[in-house]
Amino acid sequence: MKLKHFISLEWKQYFRSAYWQKSMALNILLVFLALYFVVSFLFLGVALYPILKETFPDQDPLVIVNSYLFYWFLTDIVMRFFFQKLPVMSVKPLLTLPIKRRKVVHYVLGKSSFSFFNFLPLFAVIPFGVMLIINEYPMISVIFWILAILIITLIINFFNFLIESFSSERELSYVPIIVFAGSLYAINYFNLISFTTLVSNVVSAVYSNPIMLIIPIVVLIVLYLINFKILKSKLYLDSSLKTKTQEVKVSNLEWTRKFGDAATFMQLDLKLIWRNKRPRSSVFILVIGLLYGLFFYPNPTYQNQPWMFAFVGIFVTGIFLINFGQFIPAWDSGYYKMLMSQNIKYKQYLQSKHTLMTLSVGIMFILSIPYAYFGWEILLAHAAAAIYNIGINTHVILFGGAFNRKKIDLNQRAAFNYQGTGAVQWLIGIPIMLVPLAVFGASYYFFSFEIGCLTLSVLGLIGVVFHKKLMQIITEKYIASKYTMIQAFSQEN
């Protein structure tokens, strides 16, 4: 009864949003991506047994799998943090209605267990289980083994819920998960506590003695109850209002005057970034982006694959561009009507965003110079990538913004609203990364590394030369979609 109402509310919220109607293509892409993963997992599930049997003929494939489960679960936790969207529900209108608070919370928690991320493992685990049974493993034990994995997956689901609700209130929202996963990995790696054996023991225990399934079930219930308690305490208006009044940090941004006309908006953008949680996190991601090169460069296997340098270069110098740029002009969606009726020229507004992104590329390039320690080619590739980012990608992402129809509510602080990073956001980065990679890869393959860098730089310079013209095209596109954008931005999500 109540459940039915909740579901119908969500259904309407989803399909009646302007965002849904405008981005069919994106939705289709997401479905394909999901299908891809389903198929890969199915394949993995079927093929894993024969492969292991062949590679390690003297070992039991099930034991091998069990010993790697820890890494599987750890990856699961990290992936979920970045890609799984937690259920969002606007609870305020429900608070005064005759609905028990408990019910709302149970619903939100229950809904999260129907996430795609919880079903994905099924596609690998069940075929693997079937293969085990075919190879004369005891059926009951295998079924309980599968159940154990599923329950642990659900444990991870609710654990992630806990992490997200914890970190969404913090400044550096990415830090807790990275520290957590990193330290687990390290503790395991240096054998302080062997989680690999621990997880493997638990799962094998369930396999040999089904009664042991109680352990993961108890953990699951405890986690559920903790989540329940936390969420329920957040279900009051004042608990979200408590943090309301922030002390104002006034800063004088006189240095932006150097940028002339664009200064007014640049000041506004800088305040936007510093004073709102969501855009602020795109600043912290810069740090992660900057360290990204450390994954590759110290590793000798990549030293001989210079095509990687361009990839890292585009990513490192363009990370702010991708993160901040893809939400232009949605950052300003809250007061878009005002901007449109104010005494401003669209061009000036867009120009300030462009300047900001260009600056960020420059700064990131300078900060990435120390990577030259790993080889001069890296510096060359980064420079080429930076020029390409400035010349081409800034324009591409601004142009893409004209198709932006999703409002970002900077002011919101409602409980249950994590506005986390969903998979959709990462998809938009693909053309921005893939095109330069293809260009570079092709010229590297047919000619040489230097020609590849040269091609990227020349393309970038062409973009710089035609900047005025490109901005004009972009501005026209924005003006053409002005009314649609105003309408979409004034719609509540």
């Binding site: 009044t245 104002v248 007014t264 009726s341 005494n343 401003i344 105003i486």
Partner: protein, 240 residues
């Protein structure tokens, strides 16, 4: 000053606004009233080019608002809270608007100093962001921001709603002063008949998107409007 001709706005087959001819001269204080859905906000949105007219046009000082952007230099508006930038302090917001309208800090300071009693000590130097102010105080900030930069046309949608009685009275004085002594064309919509008749020299009543009354305000206007909106016009007419 403002010239409306054959203006219509429809969504699908439903026409929400249909004004054949409406002239608003310079320096007039113009009041727009009507029940919910009468088309008041639609009209203001068309005037500010926030929605596209289905047919016809609005000319503001001979500028076609939906083709040129030149009207923006002398027009300002406060429609709702979405005109505010939540993460700025009121002062920063005033300076920001001031810069868009070519005013330096000193100009803006000089203007807002006139509104100290209107602000009632709750807006300036509060060390608070606009998003943390109450609805009423947000409205005060938005209205004053619309006065920055000597606009010739000021559009205010429901400026009296959410304000406390003292502020309502002060706002009325401000609006009267703008039209009478500074020659500013003020367009105001409201549900409060008393306020509109107090402030505006001309009142237009919209119903289902059409102009059904166009009155020059006199002593009898309030009575006439009350009768109209109570829905039994003929009955009272006969009684009088």
């Amino acid at each position: 000053m403002i010239n409306v001709a054959n203006l219509t706005k429809s969504y699908g087959s439903k026409t929400v606004l249909k004004i054949e001819d409406l002239q608003i001269p310079k320096g007039q204080s113009f009041g727009l009233i009507g029940n919910n859905g009468a088309g008041k906000t639609t009209f203001f949105s068309l005037l500010l080019d926030l929605i596209r007219p289905s047919s016809g046009h609005i000319k503001s000082k001979e500028v076609l608002v939906n083709t040129s952007e030149d009207w923006k230099t002398y027009t300002s508006a406060f429609i709702d809270e979405s005109f505010l930038i939540g993460y700025l302090t009121p002062e920063e917001y005033f300076y920001f608007i001031g810069e868009l309208r070519g005013q330096n800090k000193a100009d803006v300071d000089a203007l807002i100093s006139q509104f100290e009693d209107f602000f009632h000590g709750e807006i300036l130097n509060q060390k608070k962001y606009l998003r943390d102010l109450s609805k009423g105080n947000q409205k005060k900030a938005g209205i004053v921001a619309a006065l920055i930069g000597n606009p010739e046309i000021i559009v205010l949608d429901e400026p009296f709603a959410n304000l406390d009685p003292t502020t309502q009275i002060r706002l009325k004085n401000i609006l009267k002063d703008l039209a009478q002594t500074k020659g500013v064309t003020v367009l105001v919509s409201s549900h409060d008949l008393l306020h509109v008749t107090d402030v505006c020299e001309r009142i237009v009543v919209l119903e289902k998107g059409e102009v059904i009354k166009d009155l020059a305000t006199s002593d009898a206007t309030l009575k006439e409007l009350e009768v109209h909106f109570s829905g039994n016009e003929t009955f009272i007419d006969n009684a009088v």
